[in-house]
């Protein structure tokens, strides 16, 4: 048992923090629920600077342009970027697409796709969900038909985050409608500029502009297929396990919690005792501190498992589920403590904590990404505890 980082890991964190202190001043840090295009571009700029230091793809092997470090260093990076509230970009390429190409891609695909991801030049979006398909992803309907040396795609993808920012989509499509449902699916990378792809705007409640991505006779060359035809489901599921710690998401929320505790200690709205000294508030802050520390440990547990060569599965769901619910508990608690002021948006001069509490409350409604909380409970019960289906 050892809860410490190594000397080198601590040194890396110090170097990283020095970088973040210099490059990410408070006014550049993202406020929950109010990401602007400028914020996003700033995040990409930071990513490119991280790449120069070999930190952006820190966990990738050096031969693919990565930093050659392990899941613990990856965790440190994610935790600090999250805590500094650096606007997120590049994560789908770095965390999902790259690792899939490393395992299942051809040499040509590796040469073409990996470098730009590791350098922070290319943004990806993910095409898994569809208008009629969510939790039961294996039932997806978007069709990819072989036609000579091309695939022709027809159908639609739903909830495409980063659709308007991305260059490429990493997607699952049905290549064999006759096969049993998980066995007729293939994995592709599509250039979003390909004729026939169109976006219908889908504004999210967290302020992000996502899309429904429509495919109308979209022709992709065979070289866009990743891995084996009809094995896409298994390829995708394997590589989803690449980075599961969720430390970025934890730290992103933890920062606002820490700021909120400070706020409660410094603020006495009725002119009397500070908020934090009100017995009910004091109690709630302690409860959420416990929740935050638990979330942190469950997240690091996943990173540690990965560093020891294990594949966390139910453990990642434990961490993810706990995090989704803890984020909501914190948001509800903070709104209750702040009363009507908690509803003021970022930009309102009277909004406490720059409107972060209002923003995090909207963000906390995100209880579905990477599987709904109920799907995670199924995974814990069935894969973790071996309960019958």
């Amino acid at each position: 048992m050892d809860f410490n980082f190594t000397k080198q890991q601590n040194e890396f964190r110090e170097e990283l923090r020095e970088f973040l202190r210099a490059e990410v001043p408070l006014e550049k840090q993202e406020v929950f629920g109010s990401l602007t295009e400028e914020d996003y571009q700033f995040g990409r700029e930071i990513n490119r600077k991280l790449a120069v230091r070999n930190w952006l793809a820190i966990g990738w092997p050096e031969e693919h342009g990565g930093g050659g470090k392990g899941p613990i260093e990856q965790g440190i990076l994610n935790e600090d970027l999250g805590y500094w509230r650096v606007p997120k970009s590049g994560s789908i390429g770095l965390g999902i697409v790259g690792p899939a190409i490393m395992v299942f891609g051809t040499q040509d695909q590796k040469d073409r796709y990996l470098g730009p991801i590791a350098r922070g030049e290319i943004e990806y979006c993910q095409g898994f969900s569809e208008p009629n398909v969510g939790s039961d992803l294996g039932s997806l309907e978007l069709r990819a038909e072989r036609d000579g040396d091309e695939y022709v795609l027809n159908g639609a993808k739903m909830f495409t985050s980063y659709a308007y920012k991305a260059d490429y989509m990493y997607l699952l499509a049905r290549t064999d409608p006759q096969a049993q449902k998980h066995r007729g699916i293939s994995l592709f990378i599509a250039d979003l500029k390909t004729p026939g792809i169109s976006l219908s705007p889908l504004p999210y409640i967290n302020g992000e502009m996502a899309a429904q991505t429509n495919f109308d006779n979209v022709r992709l060359p065979l070289s866009c297929l990743i891995g084996e035809e009809n094995r896409g489901w298994y390829h995708a599921m394997t590589t989803l396990d690449y980075e599961r710690s969720g430390l970025w998401r934890y730290a992103n929320v933890r920062r606002v919690f820490d700021d909120f505790v400070d706020f409660c200690q410094d603020s006495a709205p009725d002119g009397g005792q500070p908020l934090a000294e009100h017995p009910l508030v004091r109690h709630q802050l302690a409860q959420r501190r416990l929740g935050m520390e638990t979330w942190k440990l469950l997240s690091w547990n996943v990173a540690w498992m990965q560093s020891s060569g294990a594949v966390p599965n139910a453990e990642a769901s434990v961490s993810f589920l706990f995090g989704s619910e803890e984020r909501l508990r914190f948001a509800e608690m903070a709104m209750e403590v702040l009363g009507p002021y908690s509803t003021l948006r970022h930009g309102s001069t009277m909004a406490p904590l720059l409107g972060n509490i209002e923003g995090i409350h909207r963000e906390a409604m995100h209880l579905h990404g990477a599987g709904t909380t109920e799907i995670h409970r199924n995974i814990i019960a069935q894969r973790g505890l071996g309960m019958p289906r």
């Binding site: 048992m1 000294e277 638990t294 690091w300 814990i380």
Partner: protein, 366 residues
């Protein structure tokens, strides 16, 4: 970073589980619970021979010199098996006080006996216990203390006392022979699986040799020992909750209703998943607290968090057990009620959830 157990710890865990499955069946647990002194002498002797009562005590006093983390691994198993006896009270709580506060001769006199199981110590720390200076340089002990575990069985009682008005400023620890005249013990009927007593002291005269540490200097030793026992108790809670989860998952796998095993129902699965989340949370927090203490790092916040979470875990396990086993678990013949009673006792003991959240808030400088 390494959240795994060492190979030796894994071996110890397996050995402990095998031993307890063989030597501590629930029939023995029930029998001991019914007995007056709450003690299973054969099991106690066997555990002493295995070195369990001195697992984290120094070798010079007969202990095995293991780490705090080793002790946590062992007590998870002890909790899992509902093991009866004053392990926590005597070999952890009282032993730590003696180790920290006692002088050499007290340590030599008491610790080897605690490790061999021949001596059982308990702790009285009710806030009505008072000591005052007596003319011969010793102290006079008066007042009473409730919820003293194994008050009948214990050979000696460590009393954490407040000063009488106008005397010295803080806690004084004294050692009282249980047979001393003026010590009156009244059993308290409760859901606890072990006996608890209200112990009254009628101006018991104690000499300087009965002082554990200096007058008014007992606070730190008491706090350290209580912290340690708190984390050990969290390990017991964890072991019990894990066993409840194992039992309900097994049961739900073969109990059929509406034509299929109830374990296929998501309502049942999700309850089990929530218990698993609470267990994993408790495990991380408990080992974090033990590891920190092993490193000599102050772990006040970590202990408070582990204990507060253990309370939540106890409730989650109790609810899952009684919901999934349903009707049969409402009968005394079913084992689930053994787990739920202990869960409630552990939740209330050594500071309940509210107390530890309050400690945590203080740690946050609120």
């Amino acid at each position: 970073m390494d959240f795994g157990l060492t190979e030796q710890q894994e071996i110890m865990r397996r050995a402990a589980r095998e031993f307890l499955e063989a030597e501590c069946p629930t029939s023995l647990v029930r029998e001991t619970e019914e007995s007056a002194d709450g003690h299973a002498p054969d099991l106690w002797r066997n555990m002493a021979e295995l070195g369990w009562l001195g697992i984290a005590l120094p070798e010079m006093y007969g202990g095995t010199g293991g780490s705090f983390t080793d002790q946590i691994v062992l007590f998870e198993e002890i909790g899992r098996a509902l093991t009866p006896g004053p392990m926590l009270t005597s070999s952890v709580l009282a032993a730590q006080i003696v180790l920290i506060a006692g002088n050499d001769s007290q340590k030599e006199r008491l610790l080897p006996g605690i490790v061999s199981g021949d001596i059982v110590l308990t702790l009285a720390r009710g806030d009505k216990l008072e000591t005052a200076s007596s003319v011969d340089g010793g102290v006079t002990l008066s007042g009473d203390s409730a919820f003293v575990p194994y008050g009948g069985l214990a050979n000696q009682i460590i009393c954490a006392t407040r000063p009488a008005i106008g005397a010295w400023p803080d806690t004084t620890l004294v050692l009282v022979d249980n047979q001393t005249e003026g010590v009156l013990k009244t059993p308290m009927e409760s859901i606890a699986n072990y006996p608890q007593h209200l112990v009254e002291f009628d101006d018991v005269a104690l000499s300087t040799e009965d002082l554990l540490g200096e007058i008014a200097e007992g606070r730190s030793a008491l706090d350290q020992a209580v912290q340690r026992a708190t984390v050990v108790q969290c390990a017991e809670t964890l072991g019990r909750a894990q066993k409840v989860l194992d039992m309900v998952v097994e049961y739900a796998g073969h109990r059929v209703a509406f034509g299929r095993p109830i374990g296929t129902f998501q309502a049942v699965q999700h309850r089990c998943a929530d218990l698993k989340v609470a267990i994993d949370s408790s495990r991380m927090l408990t080992y974090q607290a033990a590891w920190k203490a092993d490193q000599g790092i102050p772990a006040g916040d970590e202990v408070a968090m582990a204990k507060a979470q253990a309370g939540t875990l106890s409730r989650t396990a109790t609810e899952a057990g009684h919901t999934i086993f349903a009707g049969i678990s409402f009968t005394t013949e079913h084992d689930m009620q053994l787990y739920s009673a202990r869960a409630k006792i552990a939740e209330a003991n050594l500071g309940d959830t509210e107390y530890h959240l309050d400690q945590l808030a203080s740690g946050m400088e609120i």
